[in-house]
């Protein structure tokens, strides 16, 4: 491991890569503050730039800097304006905004900065410890297991979607898989579902799909409902210091939430949003008496918990991405797409084949966390100014960057028509409460899923591999359980509720 760290240090601490980390953090923070642009859209926008760099290490370093910065920037606007720019920082606004209204905005931002820093750093240490172990296990996997593992990943994403949403999430996953089959398949080179259109020959571009699923609907929502982005400038920011007693109060919270957030982040489909909400809920339950009542009215613990957890989860979500090649969230799914475009295949071979990529990314996470801390503390008052850009300017620019993101990669105006069409469909799906991240994950995993499936089918001359390889069978059974469990539990809860009513 020490050798790896040294390789990583040597690669990450070149002047160019250091500039990339700083640049990524600054861009991520600035755009993350804009309501409606989450890490997913920002990374999607940055992908053409990252691919333009050419070197996969630098590109990944830039993108992970952007990722951290975006989560961080989102917390700034949650605290100052109660306008979470990112879903993962919604829980931050529960206690952050009340603190800002009480005139403690400076203190709130400082706590957020320190909690994020600690969460990110502790989780990176955990990543260094657990990633190699996970990747040794992963080396035992063959194409049959890969196929089964991806099925597990996709069902986990659906299963963690929340009560009453499992069916919808599954539906979106299947839709994503279907969109992934458009174009030429890898095994046969036969064009499928192209309806004779040349533009569809190579399939849909994933940047276009990512933009259409996330950035466009958000921008349209901002247009339709101005209250969604309450961009009135907040009060003054004073008193950055926190007292020793306060530091002692939040230290155990940070410790607990770093661990919890990291392991939630490792699970496919959970990610920063769930980690932050769960972190907030757990800390509120643990807190005693008076402290518990303070939650929601400006409790420093209530602010530190989600901030630590969401940054730790961001780091955690890199574990399945880097070691198994399975993205745990929409954001890492986009990162996976970028990696493939850069000719790097994440998976168990990544650590042995390209250790410099792997370790440089981990080292740059430390650097990124440090840069964010330095960036956030003194610049907070100035950073907040960007939120005062009037929406009449902001929204056309968001739309323009969305369009540019997919145009630059393809240089093809048809791509923009596809983007707008998908964007409108995605907006309607959002209205009907359908989750869109499973669609994108399904789309990106679809090709790999089919390749591994086809390879296993050819090796075993049919569906025999499901029964002949015990691990495959176990994984597929796990997938079925994951999908059925939520509805079983919901039914049992309903039955029990009915039983109680009968007893009365």
């Amino acid at each position: 491991m020490l050798e790896g760290i040294l390789i990583g240090l040597a690669t990450a601490v070149t002047p160019f890569n250091l500039v990339m980390v700083v640049l990524g953090c600054v861009i991520g923070t600035l755009i993350g503050m804009l309501p409606g642009l989450g890490p997913m859209s920002i990374i999607a926008i940055m992908i053409p730039v990252a691919i333009g760099i050419g070197d996969p290490t630098s590109a990944l370093i830039l993108l992970s800097g952007v990722y951290y910065g975006a989560i961080f920037g989102g917390s700034t606007s949650s605290i100052l304006l109660n306008a979470p720019g990112v879903a993962g920082t919604v829980a931050t606004s529960f206690d952050g905004y009340p603190m800002a209204r009480k005139g403690q905005a400076g203190k709130a931002l400082t706590i957020a900065a320190i909690a994020s820093f600690a969460g990110g750093t502790i989780a990176t240490i955990l990543l260094m410890i657990f990633a190699p172990a996970l990747s040794t296990v992963a080396l035992l996997f063959h194409s049959a297991e890969y196929f089964a593992l991806m099925v597990v990943g996709l069902s986990a994403i659906a299963a963690f979607a929340g009560t009453g949403q499992v069916g919808k999430a599954l539906m979106m996953t299947i839709l994503g898989l279907m969109l992934g089959t458009v174009g030429e398949g890898a095994l046969s080179n036969m064009p499928r579902f192209t309806f004779g259109m040349m533009e569809l020959q190579s399939g849909f571009s994933f940047i276009t799909l990512a933009m259409a699923m996330f950035a466009l609907p958000e921008a349209l929502f901002l247009v339709m409902n101005p209250a969604r982005a309450a961009t009135d400038a907040g009060g003054k920011i004073t008193g950055l210091r926190i007292t020793r007693a306060e530091a002692r109060a939040i230290a155990p919270v940070i410790g607990r939430q770093s661990l919890q957030g990291f392991f939630i982040g490792v699970l496919p489909g959970a990610g920063a949003t769930i980690a932050s909400f769960l972190g907030y809920a757990v800390e509120r339950n643990i807190a005693k008496g008076k402290e518990q009542e303070e939650f929601g009215h400006g409790s420093i613990k209530g602010l530190a918990a989600p901030e630590t957890a969401n940054n730790a989860a961001c780091t955690g979500s890199f574990v399945p991405l880097l070691t198994l090649g399975i993205p745990g969230s929409g954001t890492t799914a986009i990162l996976l797409g970028a990696l493939i475009a850069l000719n790097v295949t994440p998976g168990p071979r990544l650590m042995t084949d390209e250790p410099d990529v792997f370790w440089a990314v981990i080292i740059s996470m430390y650097i990124g966390n440090l840069v964010l801390l330095i960036l956030n503390l003194p610049l907070i008052p100035y950073i907040a100014k960007i939120l005062t850009i009037p929406r009449t300017y902001l929204i056309p620019f968001i739309l323009f960057f969305t369009l540019m993101g997919s145009y630059i990669g393809q240089n093809n105006p048809t791509e923009l028509l596809i983007l707008v069409a998908f964007g409108v469909v995605a907006t309607i799906l959002r209205f009907a409460d359908y989750p869109l991240a499973p669609l994108l994950i399904g789309f990106i995993l679809g090709t790999m899923l089919e390749d591994n499936f086809a390879r296993a089918m050819q090796l075993y001359r049919g569906f025999g591999f499901i029964l002949e390889r015990p691990m495959t069978l176990a994984l597929l059974v796990t997938a079925v359980i994951l999908v059925l469990l939520p509805s079983y539990r919901a039914r049992r809860a309903r039955k029990r509720a009915e039983g109680v009513a009968d007893g009365d």
Binding site: P48, V49, G52, A83, G167, K168, M171, I174, L175, M178, T181, L187, S188, M190, R192, F193, L220, F221, V223, M224, N225, P226, A227, R228, A230, P390, R391, T392, Y393, I395, P396, F397, L399, F400, L403, M404, I408, N411, P413, T414, L416, L417, L419, V420, G423, V424, I428, L429, R430, F431, A432, D433, Y434, E450, F453, A454, M457, Q458, R461, G462
Partner: protein
Amino acid sequence: MTLDRWIALAFIAFCCVYGYAAFFTMDQSLPRILQRNPVWPSTFPKMLAVAGIIVGLIVLFTAKSKAGQQTEKTDGVMDITRLGEYRIGQALALVALMLAYALALRPLGFLGSTVLFLVLGAMILGERRLQVLVPVAVLAAGSIWYLVQEVLGIFLRPWPAFLL
């Protein structure tokens, strides 16, 4: 019937079309030699079509309307029942503008169509101060073009087609 059920129904219809293409039209062009393979290009789509129809039917018959559960309506949350209060017109106008931008990008060139897009987009949203708007749009379009073309080396046709 609520919107999510309509979507489930549309999804089932989509699966039927997709499944029809996979089951009946795709294998016709398959060479004889590939037909001896255990897996055909249409195998995976066939499985997807069947799974899609099953899941679609489940959602269609089990989806519950959330109207009763969500009583608290905050400003930031989007809700289909309040569609009438939203500025649909502006959103549709912007969608139309994006389509126009896509069609104009080649014939008008990047700089011209981008400046027009930014200016018209802001005007749809109610901005009227052209003396601020136009310089901002020109500056933004110019600097983005410089960044993409000169720094990143990706070709973007700056001027209308008849000039270059």
